[in-house]
Structure formats: C-alpha cells, structure tokens
Symmetry: C2
Subunit: 324 residues, 2 copies
Amino acid sequence: MGHVDISTALQRIAAIVGPSGVVAPADAAGLLVDERQLFSGAAALIVRPASVEQCAQVIRTCHEAGLGVVPQGGNTGYCGGATPFDAQRQILLSMARMNHVREIDPIGFTMTAEAGVVLAKAQTAAREQELLFPLSMGSEGSCQLGEVLSTNAGGLAVLRYGTARDLVLGLEVVLPNGDVLSELKGLRKDNTGYDLKALFLGAEGTLGVITAVVLKLFPEPRVRQTAWVAVASVDAACRLLSRARRESGDQVVSAEYISRRSLELVLAHVRGARDPLDSAAPHYVLLELASADEEGVLRDRLERIFSRCTRCRRGRRRRDRGLR
Amino acid sequence: MGHVDISTALQRIAAIVGPSGVVAPADAAGLLVDERQLFSGAAALIVRPASVEQCAQVIRTCHEAGLGVVPQGGNTGYCGGATPFDAQRQILLSMARMNHVREIDPIGFTMTAEAGVVLAKAQTAAREQELLFPLSMGSEGSCQLGEVLSTNAGGLAVLRYGTARDLVLGLEVVLPNGDVLSELKGLRKDNTGYDLKALFLGAEGTLGVITAVVLKLFPEPRVRQTAWVAVASVDAACRLLSRARRESGDQVVSAEYISRRSLELVLAHVRGARDPLDSAAPHYVLLELASADEEGVLRDRLERIFSRCTRCRRGRRRRDRGLR
C-alpha cells in the first residue's frame, strides 16, 4: 500500500471511469451530506463507475495509493456511514450508475441485478413478472440494493421472508485489493463449501464493495388483509402473533406492536390522525397477512384467529385445544 | 502447538471427560468405520464429552499437543469425513452424549438444542408443541443436528424452507484453540455485525466444532397433498413447478424430477413396485404441498394447478392469462 502517489492515483481513477464517471464539485453537495444532515463531509474525488471492471480498477488503484474508499448507495443511512471525511485521502465511490436489472428467471424465481438498482425498481421488475421481491421499507424509493444488503436491512416483512441476508442467493464483490469475488449463482440447494458471501451481507462495506447480486423472488400474493387489534398485555400480543402464524400456516407478513402511549403521541401531533377503535386499550398489534387465496378465504381466516382470541379469555384450557 | 507431549495430553483428555466419556476399544468398531464401510479408521482415543465445557477443554488440550480432532455425529456421512485415520495423532470426538433439547419457545418459534440431538428427536420435540422443524432426510433417525449443520444438509423440503443453514438463528462453537464462540440467540431481525455463524454451517468441522444451536421452527401444516404428475418434457416439469408455487402461494414443500428411465430401473429391480399411471410418460414430477387449510381446500388448489396445466397444452396464450 501507498507505493503510488496520491495525485497520480486520482488521475488514474478519473481516467478509469471517464468524464461521465467523475462527479463535478458543483454536483457533489447532496452526496457529501448524510440523510439527516448531521455529517458534512469531503472527498478527494467522487466517482461513479459504470461496471464491475471499472469498480475493481478504481479500488485496486486506491489500494496501491493508500487511498480510503467510502462506498455509497442511495445515501439513505442514518449513521453517516456513507459520508467521507478526508478531502486528501478518501474517495467517494457512488454506485448510482450500476443500476441495471440484468435478468429475471420466472421459473427459478431469481433476479440478477447490479448494486446500484433502487429497491423500488427491483420490486417493480419482479412485479412485472407476477413475482415478489419482499424487501420493503420507507426508503425504498431511493435506497439501493448494495446498500440494503451491506447493512442487512430488515424492513416490513422480516417475519415471513427474513432480512436482506436471507434473500440473497449469489453475490459479486470487489475486495479491498481490487480482486473480484464472483459468486452470482442462483442455486437454492447449494451446500458446497463455506458461505463466504454471508460475510459481506451486513459488513457495511468493510470487507468489500458489493457490485451485483442474485436475489430470491417469491410468488406474488393475490390478497392482503390488515388488522388493528387491541390486546390486554404485551404477553397477549405475543400470543396473538403466535396464534396468527399457526392458524394461517405462516401467512403473517408483518406484525408491529404499538403501545397506547405511542398512539397518543400520534393522535396529539399528527394532523387528521384518529383512534381506529372507539375505546382505548393499553396495547395494540398491527398485523398483515398475505396469501394466494381468494379474498374471502383470507378474511375468514383472520376472523377465525380473532374469534379464538376471544375464546381464550374465557378459558385457557379451551384455547389450547382450539389451537390444534 | 505441540508443547505438551501426546501421552500426557491423552491422559488429560480422559480425565476431562471422565470414565463414562471414554469409549472402550471393544465398543469402538461402529465409530471407526463409515456408513458405507469404505473406510476403516483408527484413533488414539475416542471420547464423548457431556458438555460444551468438556468439549472446549478436550479441544484445547489437543491444540496444545498438536493432536488432530475428528468430530463425529451419527456417522451417517457417505464420504468418510467422520472417520479418523491416525492411531497416534488423532482423537475421535463423538457428540452423542450432548443430546438434550434445551428449550422450545412456542411464542418465538425457536428450539435450542445440543449438537448431538438426533434429527428425528428434534422433529418430535417440535411436533409436541404443534410446531415444525422442517429439515428432513432419509438418515433422520440417526444423523445429529451438529452433523447436518456442519454439512449444510438440504433434505426434502429445501424448496420451501431452505437448507440447514437457512434454519439456524444462533450457534455455539468450540474453535480449534478451545475458545468458545457463543451466539445462541433467537432474534430474527438481528442485523448487527458480521454473520460469523454462517461460516461454520457447511464447513464440515474445519473451522470448529458446533456444540449447540438455536433453530427456526414453523407452524405445523394441517394437511399435505402429494401428486405424481406425468409431463411431456423437462421444460414442462420446470413450468409446472413454477405454476404450482405461484398458484399455491408458496405451499410447495417438495418437488422431485424423475425420468422414465429411473422409474423403469425401479420397476425392474424393486419387488412389488408398480407404475403409478396406466400409460408411460417420458418425465414425471413428484410434488408435495402443505398448508394450514382444510384438506379439501388444498386438494382443490392442486386440481386447479393441474387443470391449468392441461389447458396450457391447448394454447400457450391462454395459459399465460390463466396465471394472473
């Protein structure tokens, strides 16, 4: 490391990505400040490689010159992790130009996509094939695949589909020395060797830069049903969730616990918000179920879950039988 | 390594596990030959530790003396990987005494169990709580959890539930120097830090010895339906599987492709076997679906999948619409 001088390295990097790959200082402001505007950074150069080859050459050059690399996706983080801070010895590596969905396999239920693809675009690409990419979160309109995988994001549907890590079958990564680790395979029953790719999922870019990924897709549910349920205790909320998972055969996609206190804060401060129920309860659960059934079938199932829930207040023993 | 002499180390190891932890040579034959009887091995000592502490002390002592450690579960492997071969410089570490299911959490859908628990015992323990541990394979009556995790076994239900690696939330491992890495947590939405545990799942014992595990459990399906389907081509088999996944909302648990040639070998050599269908077809698919529905609902769904399959022979375009 450090056997190439920095200004030479920066020139080389600019040449690797070409004029359209270098972000001019005038366009850089949004990239050097984090989402919450808590950190304002600086970088010796901001580049947007267009391919894994360019990405690898850039990182190799940084390695040789001892330059730090700060990878950045949609810059939606809340911790400043994508903000560089050294105007002399760091570059910002934006993945925004590597934004192609390379392939969707509707038989094998996989999508191969570059790391700079915005999450919502990946969701849409799956939906166009009547498939589901289940990772979903508030920032999905701007966060990128590489970013959600590097942070092992959870999102709304963890309960049914797992975190980002659970949704990855294959990965392409540029290592800190510029070597490319390419395991872009979509085989589900692959049980050969070490699961090296798992190391990069959640590593926040510390072990390499994710450049492409093979994602698991799922059948798109036909119907969704959402329920807002008042419960007497936190314990009852947990039992309700367990019952809903059992009764539905794991069709619970999301479950969120909400205390009365949280609800009251919303009612007090959010204009137009109203209490969904007529009387107050100390605790609530927001449940979402999704299935391939007709709408009525799923609604009936949801109602059965709650009817057993009422019965269980009458007698514990009876409820236990009811769960069989 | 190697600064303790071997005979001293072997005495220490015997003392660590106590008399009931040392397997006498007379009882050792079944442990030193592999399942297919292709390899006949030898070891300086065969021990069965009763706890993670004993296991760690044994491995630390081996490390200090330069003794090799060959861990063994139910000895069901087909590759001789659990057979030691050096009567001077290797010990066999059997996990058979670490066979306790420590806890089942019916609300959080997890099981904490020791590595020597036989797979069928883990399945039964889950079923007693009306839950499912979905890993299932021919050797389930004798293979152990540590063994199926170390080899990242797949089994019959990979399509719906993934391989062994996908079923693990937490892990306890003794590292080659005798240190214990304990991450026995059951939190599903854990997205902190590197996924170190993933490295040991599929490592075949090369990175450490798995001593305990937190497994994911699932709602136990109420009904199962199995279908044996004749198809015109391998391509049609793939399309059928895709259609079944979509139509059922991912209730396909198993799918197995079988060629006419394989079937004919069975018919020729297995006494009492008969062709399930009246006329021969070039290719077959064996499908299993499972759900929380009533039996009739799942059967109707299966029939709908096949009726669309018939329709698709009449006109491709119509089938494509049918899938919406």
